[in-house]
């Protein structure tokens, strides 16, 4: 049984086919990358697995279970986390305050607990805080936990988004261009973080444009072009795949393109 299995998935918006009959598998504990030119359907592909979009046809399985029609929040509870290209952080609030809510899905306190501040509420608040702190430590931000988000750097915001996803106790994390808009040094740090996540047992699936980064860490790469899968394999196979070179870079070898 594959960890995540996508079978013949297609998504059409009106007349436009954003994702075209894609079969794909994601292996547990590995780093999988999806690359492709702008508008290749990468984010849509994420949204299909994630549940934001319902596919026109095809199915998605998570640990053998059909999650094609599962609402987003229930997917999260199964252990599917994701980040967005633009992180919607709560700028005026502190770093830790942004992360605490990430553990909300593992708590049960309801309105009643809130109003009467029950034992459960207090205990779960404590747990959520602990979890948030652990997540921040994992991404190396525990020292600035009490700082307002509006004052931290772009790179720290990217890490924060990962910490937030981490607080949900995920089995798999979908990262949508985690390294966009940050400099090469920071990109290296982020790559390390992703490897650390994978090493800790969390499956990583990422969309990324920074080829060097991807080639250096991905176990498997899928290439999308105009919604269709045109190649799949190890970084080496992808690098030397003539179809990919043709479609993706107009003939230039990928390794030099970054």
């Amino acid at each position: 049984m594959a960890f995540i299995e996508v079978k013949g998935i297609t998504k059409k918006f009106g007349g436009l086919t954003a994702v075209d009959n894609v079969d794909f598998e994601i292996e547990q504990g590995k780093i999988t990358a999806i690359i492709g030119p702008n508008g290749a359907g990468k984010s849509t592909f994420f949204n299909l697995i994630n549940g934001f979009h319902k596919p026109t046809s095809g199915r998605v399985f998570f640990e053998g279970r059909d999650i094609t029609k599962l609402p987003v929040h229930l997917g999260a509870r199964l252990g599917i986390a994701r980040t967005f290209q633009t992180t919607h952080l709560f700028e005026q609030s502190t770093v830790i305050d942004n992360v605490i809510v990430g553990h909300r899905l593992r708590t049960k306190s309801k309105l009643f607990d809130a109003v009467f501040r029950t034992k459960r509420e207090k205990q779960e608040e404590h747990n959520a805080y602990q979890k948030a702190m652990e997540s921040l430590e994992f991404v190396g931000m525990e020292k600035i936990a009490q700082v307002p988000v509006s004052t931290i750097t772009q790179e720290e915001k990217k890490r924060l988004a990962i910490a937030l996803a981490l607080a949900t106790d995920p089995k798999v994390m979908f990262l949508d261009e985690p390294a966009a808009g940050i400099n090469p040094d920071e990109t290296e740090g982020l790559a390390q973080l992703m490897k650390k996540l994978a090493a800790s047992g969390i499956t990583i699936c990422t969309i990324e444009h920074k080829m060097q980064m991807i080639m250096g860490m991905a176990d498997k790469i899928m290439v999308l072009n105009q919604g269709a899968k045109i190649a799949e394999g190890t970084p080496n196979e992808i690098k030397n795949n003539p179809v990919v070179i043709e479609a993706y870079l107009g003939g230039e070898p990928i390794a030099e393109a970054n």
């Binding site: 994630n50 934001f52 609402p71 987003v72 929040h73 229930l74 999260a76 509870r77 986390a81 994701r82 967005f84 919607h88 952080l89 709560f90 005026q92 609030s93 502190t94 830790i96 305050d97 605490i100 809510v101 990430g102 909300r104 899905l105 708590t107 306190s109 309801k110 309105l111 607990d113 809130a114 109003v115 009467f116 501040r117 509420e121 779960e124 608040e125 404590h126 959520a128 805080y129 020292k143 600035i144 936990a145 009490q146 700082v147 307002p148 004052t151 937030l164 996803a165 949900t168």
Partner: protein, 336 residues
């Protein structure tokens, strides 16, 4: 810790002030009446704050729900001669039920559509009250709504006793608001306001949470409406008018949307401003309208939000210190 003590002191001073206020103005029914009305409106504004300020859904139907609360109490106590307290309870429950039904439908729409939808539902409630003569008395309104029935030795005949009764409800409303906002549930609401998509990927059922938050906020409006009916003894369709909800919104924005003390600050400020500008009748809106516009452009978090922003700037030099095990949502962090 110092900050919290400080905050507690401020709250304690305010509560004591509110408690002794009637002793200072014991002979001045007018002043007490205005204060009491202010408290009632503040309850309603706290309700709007919960859904608009914390959960991020601008509901413009709140005057309609205020009116449902007012008319339910009015009709039950005058036509059915029901006990006031039972009628009050039913008024809140019925308003909440109406809110639940509307919420189930209206919350399927988003952002602008939700605001327009609720504005129109609010107007429809106004039209219904205005036209449904047999039930509501139409434009003539309902008169002779009784004061609250005595509870044992406690009677509510004097302006002072009504003042204390409403104050008690206000404190309860604020207390519940604070508890909700500073809980995991409150964090959930704020996450939804921040980004519904992100909240969903964090495993939050946005539909249920928005609905619950909407129903509570409507219950606040219903409670405020019922108290209003009993205080003024007379209600007309105007309580459901769009101007009413626009007023609530103005109090909320100027006080500080998404802050815990904003509703009270904004409401009390405007209630008294309106009294001072009374001789200018409706023309006070010539000033209030532009104030509202200027506030959202330059001080989108209102007086309270602005205050915390300045305070945060002053404190920013201090390095982050060891936090308590749980960091409550500071007010400055609750702005949009």
């Amino acid at each position: 810790m110092g900050k919290i003590l400080n905050q507690r002191t401020v709250i304690a001073v305010l509560v004591i002030f509110a408690l002794v206020f009637p002793l200072i103005y014991a002979d001045n029914r007018y002043v007490l009446h205005v204060m009491t009305i202010g408290f009632i409106f503040a309850i309603s504004v706290y309700g709007m704050n919960l859904i608009a300020g914390f959960t991020g859904q601008l509901s413009l139907a709140h005057a309609g729900f205020f009116a449902i609360g007012a008319y339910t109490l009015g009709i039950l106590t005058t036509r059915n001669e029901m006990n006031f307290w039972l009628a009050l309870l039913l008024a809140v429950l019925l308003t909440s039920a109406a809110g639940l039904v509307l919420g189930l439908i209206a919350l399927r729409t988003k952002e602008h559509f939700f605001a327009i939808y609720t504005l129109i539902v609010g107007y429809l409630i106004y039209l219904l009250i205005d036209k449904w003569d047999g039930l509501t008395g139409g434009v003539r309104g309902l008169i002779g709504i009784p004061i609250p029935d005595p509870i044992g030795p406690l009677t509510f005949e004097s302006a002072t006793s009504m003042y204390y009764l409403v104050l008690a409800f206000l404190l309860l409303s604020i207390f519940i608001s604070v508890r909700i906002v500073r809980s995991l549930t409150g964090r959930t609401y704020i996450a939804i306001r921040n980004s519904e998509e992100l909240a969903q990927t964090l495993g939050i059922n946005t539909r249920i949470n928005k609905l619950v938050s909407f129903v509570i906020s409507v219950a606040y409006a219903g409670l405020a409406g019922a108290l209003y009916a009993s205080l003024t003894r007379f209600i007309g369709p105007d309580v459901a008018s769009t101007n009413m909800v626009f007023n609530f919104l103005m109090y909320l924005i100027v006080g500080g949307i998404g802050t815990l003390s904003g509703p009270l600050v904004g409401t009390m400020l405007f209630i008294w401003l309106e009294q001072f500008l009374r001789s200018y009748q409706e023309y006070h809106l010539l000033i209030f309208g532009p104030i509202l516009v200027l506030m959202v452009i330059f001080f989108p978090t209102g007086i309270v939000g602005g205050f915390y922003k300045i305070k945060a700037k002053l404190q920013h030099k201090k390095l982050p210190k060891e936090s308590k095990y749980f960091n409550p949502v500071p007010e400055k962090s609750t702005e949009k």
